[in-house]
Symmetry: C2
Subunit: 506 residues, 2 copies
């Protein structure tokens, strides 16, 4: 046990805070001693059900104390936890399960019917199923609490360092979902990078409102345990939380925001998608006592490689334009901007963002070809376009695949979205390329207006023209009544917007 | 470059703070850009002089900006830096150099005469010598600044993870000096553990007053670079410093302490030897605006595994008796107390302190036998005796080898030292076992009195009897006029006191 270990964190938490609260889930609370005991019993059950070193355990469940136990129980049994996105289609979930070939499948009660597709492997052999809930289980399932009652706590299998901890499926930079292999050391590196920036310690009470199949939530699960803090599944006295921009909008639009006591909330971190500056400033004004921190990264980077710290959100720094940046390299990270031949580019030049360090994934499960491509030259290629300023701040201008080429000019969709988002009537927007016989692609915007507000297509285009170059402005705007299609991590799915557009065009 | 790396920290510092001060050395200051350039040129010179992956570079020098450059230049060339303790005898220094078989030897101007013994290997072949100073070099040496001027900056050799970074010689738990093999990941783990506890960030200005051949100084060198802080060789506007107890005494006895502006000093960490509580309280009273942090560990642990945080030094916590503890396990560390058969002992029981985690050394250089012994069962055996309290705080009661057995009773020398140190006339003391025909060992104290104060042997023994059990009290006290024999790290050398005692007794 000489390496970096995620399960060591539980033993330490028991050593230093045995009777304090590890997990609050609705009206239930578990001390670190009880939580550790439940995890160790679950690990014993997993071993008994055939889980050996490196075996996968698939989890499809809403967040609960049992979800947290499953993460740690799997790792403590020597296994690899594979939390799947329950919002995916049945076919996608089945394909991911078949790809990772799990020894055990855990299903929350809301997803018990998935047993129809996940209950057997491609050869027709039955898989071990666990019903992740209290009380008796449906036919064919082991009952979760029975497994705990029937097993004595098992010793930690002692995996660490480069041993796999998690497999997280992501569509990443290409369309095929890939299992990102993240190790114990990968997530410990993330913990080392974020703990000082967020001043996390044993008094931290972290809100898990985001789905734990997403890397940002999983990473904070690990770092909160490493500081022996408290996990909260439903909010009460929360000190730390992690949001994506869409959630900022949702919160600001929630009438009770201004009547709710949020004074305990010390830190909010955000990331996962470009944050429109007006939205950020509105949120900062609404929660003046809360420190904000932005992080940038991706599943393949466990996930953080740059941080815009809370000091960069203070008025002086914010007015320097830095709120539009993704911050500076995290303590253990090296980040560069390169040209298509992987040569480093000078300050100010646009290119692909690449990163290296102990947070870089071990590779893509079963995909040595994609792994070699993504990690060529020892750097993780993010597929994002960005540039550094003179002070070492990184600006992410777009996804490589979201860049629009119109009439030979590169247009970064996020720059156009920032212009649109600054219009007072715009609630959410997305800018994509629309196939165009003359220009190759034409800039096209999809917009949700704020409730009770109006704006015409021409008004929005004129607003953009007052802010950015003519060729970058939308040539067409779809003012949409329906909500935007969102991913499990609440990011706008531009791929679906493009598909809708092509469907309409055909 | 996917692993934990110490040299990545320099590139990050250049990326985020190129023109801010990296090193202040007397009246000289070097920006991160200039420091990195000098390090890269030195790395090129090392490569040119034959340093390949894993080759050792011996350094004997006082602290200076060149010492810091030598550390990073060696690692960036792919080598392993071996800073030797210049206070050792000539024979010891030569033996350590022969043990690690260096490709290059760097000597500070004060130690140029060591070329007589370090200039040739045991087979009589000349070693490459570098004169670590400005200006021309003596015959047989390369001039440091010439090497920099003659070489273009080299790329980083890219060592990381378990690759060796440093070899630090220590007498450790046995008398033979051993080269402790510490990797890039080992020191990164230490950085991850201490940075949040000391709130280190890019505004940190760390004072390197301790010798860099000692692990505590070397570790803080690395962590200060990782946060892109500023290194100070002579003090000015210092925010962080690391002391051992003897230095606390020296500072408190310095008349100018109370007239010097120490308001910039935010954090002082201390460790390396047991801290008498009265001395600690005196220091806290003298520097009320400075936060204190104790860490416990050893060279083999890179070095920190437990931390008594600054909050534990606040009046409420301090009054709970916790000031006598070494704190709780650091974020990435697992610490246990075991019996002689390596079985874990319950809370409150005395036994050997063992530790595991990513900070555990790779082993002892050339000594697989000692490595296997020290790391048996996957745990580093510290050779210290201690116990945990109910709240998970570790109390170090003694070195295994410093424990005195008198009339069949175990006496922890530190408990007796704490009793003696609480006498107002005692400046420093050490308690050792004196061979005794009747009791096996008799408790013997060696004491330095404070200047201008007096206390008799019988008065000191009576003072101890008022505080601790009769059998633990000294049976003899040597009131000593000479200073205590100190190690390079300013620890009292009990081995020398024992030798003096045996010399006198024979």
């Amino acid at each position: 046990m000489r390496g970096f270990s995620l399960t060591q964190a539980i033993r330490r938490a028991v050593a230093i805070r045995p009777e304090t609260v590890a997990v609050i889930d609705g009206d239930q609370a578990f001390s670190w001693r009880v939580f550790a005991d439940r995890v160790a019993r679950l690990a014993a059950a997993f071993k008994d059900l055939g889980v050996g070193p490196g075996d996968r355990i698939v989890l499809v469940a809403l967040n609960s104390h049992r979800t947290l136990e499953a993460f740690y129980g799997a790792m403590q049994a020597g296994g690899v936890i594979v939390p799947l996105n329950h919002r995916l289609g049945l076919g996608e979930i089945a394909a991911q399960a078949d790809d990772c070939a799990p020894t055990v499948v855990i299903l929350g009660p809301e997803f018990a019917s998935l047993a129809d597709v996940l209950g057997k492997d491609p050869s027709g052999n039955a898989r071990v199923l666990i019903h992740c809930a209290s009380g008796p289980a449906p036919a064919g399932f082991h009952a979760y609490e029975d497994l705990l009652a029937e097993h004595e706590p098992a010793d930690d299998a002692g995996r660490s360092g480069d041993d796999l901890a998690c497999l997280l499926y992501t569509s990443g930079t290409t369309s095929a979902a890939k299992g990102v292999m993240l190790s114990h050391a990968n997530f410990c590196a993330n913990t080392a990078n974020v703990v000082p920036e967020l001043a996390m310690d044993e008094t931290t009470v972290h809100l898990h409102h985001g789905p734990l199949f997403h890397v940002a939530s999983a990473a904070r699960l690990f770092s909160t345990t490493h500081v022996a803090g408290t996990h909260v599944i439903l909010p009460t006295g929360v000190t730390h939380a992690t949001f994506v921009p869409t959630m900022f909008r949702m919160m600001l639009d929630e009438p009770s925001l201004r009547t709710t006591d949020l004074s305990s909330l010390r830190y909010v971190s955000y990331g996962s998608a470009a944050m429109p500056e007006p939205l950020l400033r509105e949120f900062m004004a609404a929660l003046p006592g809360t420190r904000l921190l932005q992080s940038y990264g991706m599943t393949e980077l466990s996930p953080v490689v740059t941080i815009l710290g809370w000091r960069d959100h203070l008025p002086d720094a914010a007015d320097s334009g830095r709120l539009r940046s993704a911050g500076r390299p995290a303590m253990l990270a090296e980040v560069a901007v390169v040209d298509p031949a992987d040569r480093p580019l000078p300050t100010g030049s646009h290119g692909e963002i690449v990163a290296s360090g102990p947070m870089v994934m071990q590779g893509y499960w079963n995909r040595p070809d994609l792994t070699a491509e993504a990690l060529r030259g020892g750097w993780m290629h993010t597929g994002d376009i960005g540039y550094f300023d003179e002070a070492g701040y990184l600006y992410v201008v777009d996804r490589l695949k979201d860049m629009i080429i119109t009439g030979g000019e590169n247009v970064w969709s996020q720059e156009v979205e920032n212009a649109l988002a600054s219009h007072p009537a715009v609630a959410q927007c997305a800018v994509i390329g629309k196939p165009d016989p003359h220009w190759g692609e034409a800039v096209h915007a999809v917009v949700n207006l704020r409730e009770g507000m109006a704006a015409s297509e021409s008004e929005l285009i004129a607003h953009c023209r007052s802010l950015i170059a003519h060729y970058k402005c939308p040539r067409s705007v779809d003012i949409r009544d329906r909500p935007m299609p969102l991913s499990g991590a609440n990011k706008i799915l531009k791929s679906e917007l493009r598909a809708e557009l092509e469907g309409r065009g055909s």
